[in-house]
Every structure is written in C-alpha cells, then in structure tokens.
C-alpha cells in the first residue's frame, strides 16, 4: 500500500537507499547531491539502518571503497554529482569490469569549468562509456522507483553490473513534490538480500579480483561486459513488471507522451520532460500533432525499441543537456540518429543543445523547438541541423 508523501528528489533518493538497507555507504559531499549522504548519516545515527557509513576523503576514494566493499560481499551504495563523478570515472570503469553491482545516485550537475552548480547532464553523459547501466529520472517519484529497481537489475546473475540512477540537480533534487512511497517491508522484500557468488570475505574460498590482462584476454573480458549489458535489457523489463505488480507504476526503456500519432516529436531526458509535457498539452489543444519520447534507460540503449516508437514521426528534435563538442550534437542526438540511420523510412532529425549549466527551460522555449520543426516541414529546408536553445547570440 503506497504512502503519500511530499519529498525533494534528494530525500526521495535517500529514502530509497534507506529502505534497501545497504551494508555499506561510502560517500563524499558535493552540491547538489550532498543531502543524500547527509540524510543517510542521520539514518545511521538514529539506528534506522545497519549500514556502515564511510565518510571518505574524496569521490575517487568513495568509489574505491565501494569497490572494495562490494567485492567483499556487501551491498554498497553512494551518491555524487558533477566533478565528483568525473573524479571517480577511472573507478567507474573498474567497478563495471570487476562486475560489481554498486548503486550510485547521481544528481546531475554541470561539469566545471567554469564552475556551475546547476542541472545539466555533462556529468553522467561523460561517464556513459564506463559500462554502468544508466537510468534517468524525470522527477522524485522516478528517482525513488529507479533506485529500488536498480538493485534488482544490477544484482541479477545475468547482469552483475553497477547502476547509476540520475535526476536533475536542484530542479528535481531540491524541489518538494508529491510522491508515493512503498512500505519499508515491501521494499526490503523486493530488493532481497545480496548474495554474491564469489567475494573476498568468504572463508575457504579466496578470490583474486582486478588482474593484469595481456592482449590475449582483455578483449574477451570486455565482450563479457557487452553481453551483460545486452542481458540487462531483458532484466530491466522483468524487474519493471515485478515492480508494477507491487506498486501499480509502470516503467520501460522509454516513456511516450502523445507520441502515437505525432508528426513532430522531441527526444530528451530528465526534468525537461515535465515542461515538454505541459507544452505538448498546450499545443495539442491548438490542434498541433506534437509528442515526446523520454529516455529512461540510456545504457543499455534500446535502439530497436526507439526505432519502433519513432518510425511514424516525421520530424524529430533530439535534445541534449550536455556537449560532446563533436560540433554536430550531443549524446542523445548521436544515439538517436545512429539508431534511425539503417531504417528505410525514418524521421528528419535535428539536434538541440539546451539547459546547459541550468539554463532555464520554459514552455516558450520548448514551443519554439516544435515551431522550428514545423518550419522545416513548411520550407522543406533543414537549415542548421545543430542548434543551441535559449542562447544569447
């Protein structure tokens, strides 16, 4: 039976982490995710969790300690943002190659420089090749639900990969909104107990983790990770089905909004989806056939499903909240365009860079994107394929 509450995204994330009662949390503070280890420390201090909290001296050490802990056989979690995530990037690769299902709550914030503390996706997008499953959350509800499901996805024997659950800094993390929480007991039952087959602390069965691989072995080890990521697709759906049974809330790889008969669609991630939905409501009332494809699972990237959902759309704007400096667009655009390329019929697709460093996303600005798509249809000319939204020029 869900409990109605009003929580910020950070508190929602902290609550999910509390309810899964991890064995260890090793974390270092950074705005805007700082509240997560703070809330958690209070849970520890009040004896509400069995977690050993390790106040490490940097994010690199946070992930290092998480790796040591998970390898030892303990369910381990942490949280970070921006440069904290960047500082632990080397470790992210090692966590996934060592096949350790660590859970990381990312509160998206722009990477320096210049230093900026607001929402953008450069941090988690910068880590997209590290071999972690990436789940993105539009609001506090999704952040909470994603974290709970993340445990089951990562720990599944066919996956054994770490998972990061992302939400936008300040916009989601600090805004207090309605949320439905599940009972402690239900979450506890859903996530189950962590039982690693092989781990460091296992009397009589020592293991050695983290070898030096010559060229004879490295590629096969990477392929194993690739297969695990492929297996994750099935597991994500299975876990979502179980989650729906428990909560009634449905999750998939993507969420569509008014997409079925849309001629013009946006593809994007996280909180801007909320603004997009409102814009779509307004424009639909005016008779315009606009829609949204929101990405929840960015890694693995389910290109088959995406193609299925977009195939009847005529004009797509892929919107990115992080630069790659390819000069042709961001990660969402690249993944989407690459997915559509082999199809014989596919939408026209342009790329938008928006909301960098917390640049505000409004109904007006989203509407202008749809209007740009309609203009392309009218004139028959794409013009600039790669555009910046709300930039002062």
């Amino acid at each position: 039976m869900s409990i109605r509450e009003k929580l910020s995204g950070n508190e929602a994330a902290a609550t999910a982490l509390r309810q899964m009662n991890p064995d260890v949390m090793a974390a270092f503070p950074i705005t805007p995710s700082t509240e997560i280890p703070q809330y958690f420390s209070k849970y520890v201090s009040d004896g509400r969790v069995d977690t050993e909290f390790v106040p490490v001296e940097s994010e690199h050490s946070a992930m290092s300690a998480c790796i040591g802990s998970q390898a030892a056989g303990a369910r381990t979690v942490t949280a970070t943002s921006a440069n904290g995530l960047a500082l632990m990037v080397e470790e992210l690769y090692i966590a996934s190659s060592s096949r350790l299902p660590i859970i990381l709550s990312v509160v998206n914030r722009a990477l320096s420089g210049p230093i900026n503390i607001n929402a953008d996706h450069s941090d988690s997008m910068g880590a997209r090749d590290a071999g972690w499953i990436q789940l993105y959350s539009e609001d506090n509800q999704e952040a909470y639900d994603n974290l709970i499901q993340a445990v089951r996805i990562g720990e599944h024997k066919d996956v054994q990969l770490p998972v990061m659950v992302c939400q936008d800094g300040f916009i989601t993390s600090h805004a207090i909104e309605n949320i439905k929480l599940e009972e402690d007991e239900d979450v506890k039952e859903f996530v189950g107990t962590y039982k690693a087959e092989e781990h460091l602390i296992n009397k009589g069965n020592p293991i050695a983790m983290g070898p030096y691989d010559t060229a004879d072995y490295y590629m096969e080890h990477k392929y194993q990770q690739n297969r695990a990521m492929e297996n994750a697709k099935k597991v994500i759906e299975e876990v979502a089905a179980e989650f729906k049974e428990m909560t009634g809330r449905e999750y998939g790889f993507f969420e569509t909004y008014e997409l079925e008969d849309a001629d013009y669609a946006l593809v994007l991630i996280n909180s801007a989806a909320g603004t997009a939905k409102e814009t779509i409501d307004k424009m639909r009332a005016e008779g315009k056939k606009v829609g949204l494809l929101k990405i929840r699972v960015f890694r693995p990237f389910n290109r088959d499903r995406l193609v299925e959902l977009l195939k009847d759309v005529k004009y797509v704007a892929a919107m990115d909240r992080s630069e790659t400096f390819s000069t042709s667009g961001g990660p969402v655009y690249h993944e989407t365009a690459a997915a559509l390329y082999p199809e014989t019929t596919r939408p026209e697709i342009i790329s938008y860079m928006y909301g960098l460093g917390g640049r505000d996303v409004t109904i007006e600005s989203i509407e202008s994107v749809f209007n740009d798509l309609m203009e392309i249809e009218e004139t028959g000319e794409v013009g600039e394929r790669y555009r910046y939204l709300s930039l002062r020029e």
């Binding site: 050695a208 070898p211 072995y217 096969e220 194993q224």
Partner: protein
C-alpha cells in the same frame, strides 16, 4: 580437475572480469627457465639455520618440520640472495645447464 585457463579459450570460458577463483595458482607457472645461474644445495654442509628460506623472492626454498628441503627449480630464478646469506657456503651457484 578444471582445465586451466589459457589464451585459446573463448569469452564464455574465461572468468568474468578476470577474477580468479583458484588462489595461488601461479604455482603452476614455471619461472625456472629465467635462470642464468643455478643454486646447488650442499646438504652435507647445511646447518639448517634457515636464513636462506625467507629471503627468497620466489618462495623456492621449501621448509618442512623446521628443515629446508631441495630447491624448487620450477620457480627459482637464480638471483643468488640465498647463496650470499648462507653462513656456511652450503649453496653454490653454478651456470645454468652446467650440471646436466
């Protein structure tokens, strides 16, 4: 006995992430062929002080019941640290292959 992992195996046969479940299996790897010089154990001279055993980087002087045994030539690299520390010249270094 499980087949030892080697570089002809495919991705399914290798352990995930390179984690090894057979602790201490380096024992099966021969480093004795590194030798340029070989230590010869002169048992009759040996006073079993055991000063040689712990200073071997390659664990090639086994000890049993308080006595050192013959060299482990599968692993000995011929560094001669043992010969240097032996107080009674019970270890003689000869060029590898000379005793064959």
């Amino acid at each position: 006995m499980a087949k030892e992992i080697n570089e002809t195996m495919n991705w399914k046969e290798l352990t995930p992430g390179g984690t090894i479940y057979t602790a201490g299996n380096a024992e099966n790897f021969n480093t004795g062929d590194w030798r340029v010089n070989k230590p010869i154990f002169k048992e009759d001279k040996c006073i079993q002080c055991l000063l040689c055993a712990p200073v071997c980087p390659d664990t090639s002087i086994p000890v049993k019941d308080g006595k050192r045994l013959e060299f482990d030539y599968d692993h000995c690299k011929g560094c001669a640290i043992c010969a240097e520390v032996c107080p009674v010249d019970a270890i003689e270094m000869i060029p590898e292959g000379q005793d064959e």
